[in-house]
Amino acid sequence: MTLATLVSQSVAANTTDDIDHSKYMIELGGVVKSYGGNTILHEVSLRVERGEVCSIIGPSGAGKSTLLRCVNLLEQPDDGNMVIDGQFVDFTENLGKTDLMALRRKCGMVFQQFNLFPHMSALKNVVFPQMHVLGRGKAEAEERAMELLKRVGLEDRADHKPSQLSGGQQQRVAIARALALDPAVMLFDEPTSALDPEVSGEVLNVMRELAEGGMTMCVVTHEMSFARDVGDHLVVMADGRIIDEGDPKEIMAHPVNERTKQFLSAVGR
């Protein structure tokens, strides 16, 4: 067991430690989630520093996506707590609508299936949430949207509907849509799993640029090279637990944990 694992297992809300909590964007403590008697997450604790790219890897069914979805409460965990961008959340309590929306506003989320709004143009997809969530005016929202579409290389596709765009382009619009709300942290749930390898690259490039810009990112991924080259922090999950975590290059080059070794050799690393 690495030192990092030991540290992360002390609960996030533990107030008697002498850790500087302000350097963390997300601190998850003892997160438990089960569906009808099936426990998906077993007291998972995790710290993500500000400006860090945290890659979460592991076999399917490990609970990676569920953990990510607990962070913005698309799933309500059964137990545990979280501090996100300084805001404390007790998962055993039902959050009010206002708190929930404030919390979700801190997170931008990118889905495997993009989930763009198919009846709106690329531009409208990015403009519409800004107007309704942040109350931005149309002109301001459009200006920001065009700026972001340009950043993901799609300013000339602004008027296209999602169905007229390739998968990689749709995913880049989805990234722009999430960024438009100025989130503190970006959550990526297998962002390239639905894409051909040749178009995955364009999405990964956008993510790499985002990381270089200092964005805090949690990425559930099967892209080992992304996790190694762009990631600052690697989390390996299996059977609803974090089995290994630490420096990506270190873990990938010299895995100590048996399950980690197994998984890495299975994915060809």
Partner: protein, 221 residues
């Protein structure tokens, strides 16, 4: 036996009254639709809502409305409500009965359309921090509506045909005019063929449009 006059001449003499009846039928269907569509959406939102009580009330309204023949609803409104001191003219009675019946079927069509929208759309709305109501009206409903337009049009064609029931409470619509013409000339076959043609003049093009729309909407956005 009196020699019959030529068919077209016979139809020509009856047509002005029948066309007037057709106008009344169209008005009945039109008003019932304008009332019934939003009402159907309301019922659907009640049924699908999270509030148990509201949802049950919605379900009862819809199931009664769909479970009873439109004719019985019409009789209950026209002959039944006076027992509670509510006396309605035949035209408003017909509209209440038809609109209720129609809205209940539309409610189920709306529900099917809403449930057919992929769950990821709601999730995207949640993840973006959009209010549930905003997501429903701006994201879910437009997509649902698109997929159910053919079904709604089909239901509206049925509504138009159902207006013939209003004849039983003496609304001077197409069926009533046809019956009057038939009972004065005793040439029921000729009269009702003409009446059928009058209905078909409206319903056939409407179903062609429906089929055309269906093909158009099956294409992606």
């Amino acid at each position: 036996m009196v020699p019959k006059e030529p068919l077209l001449q016979f139809w020509g003499e009856g047509l002005p009254n029948m066309l007037h009846g057709l106008q009344i039928s169209a008005a009945l269907a039109g008003v019932s639709m304008i009332i019934g569509l939003p009402l159907g959406l309301l019922f659907c939102m009640m049924v699908m809502g999270r509030n148990r009580v509201v949802s049950t009330i919605g379900l009862v309204i819809v199931e009664i409305g769909r479970g009873m023949p439109a004719l019985i609803i019409l009789y209950l409104v026209y002959f039944g409500l006076p027992s509670f001191g509510i006396l309605l003219e035949s035209f408003p009675s017909a509209i209440i009965a038809l609109a209720w019946n129609y809205s209940c079927y539309c409610s189920e069509i709306f529900r099917a359309g809403i449930q057919a929208v992929p769950g990821g759309q709601n999730e995207a709305g949640d993840a973006l921090g959009l209010d549930d109501r905003i997501t429903f009206f701006y994201v879910i409903l437009p997509q649902a509506f698109r997929s159910i337009i053919p079904a709604l049009l089909g239901q509206t064609i049925l509504l138009f045909q159902d207006t013939s029931l209003a004849y039983t409470v003496a609304v001077p619509e197409l069926m009533k005019e046809a019956y009057t013409y038939g009972s004065t000339t005793f040439q029921y076959l000729r009269v009702f063929v003409l009446a059928g043609l009058c209905y078909a003049v409206v319903t056939l093009p409407a179903s062609w449009i429906t089929r055309w729309l269906e093909r158009r909407l099956a294409l992606s956005y």
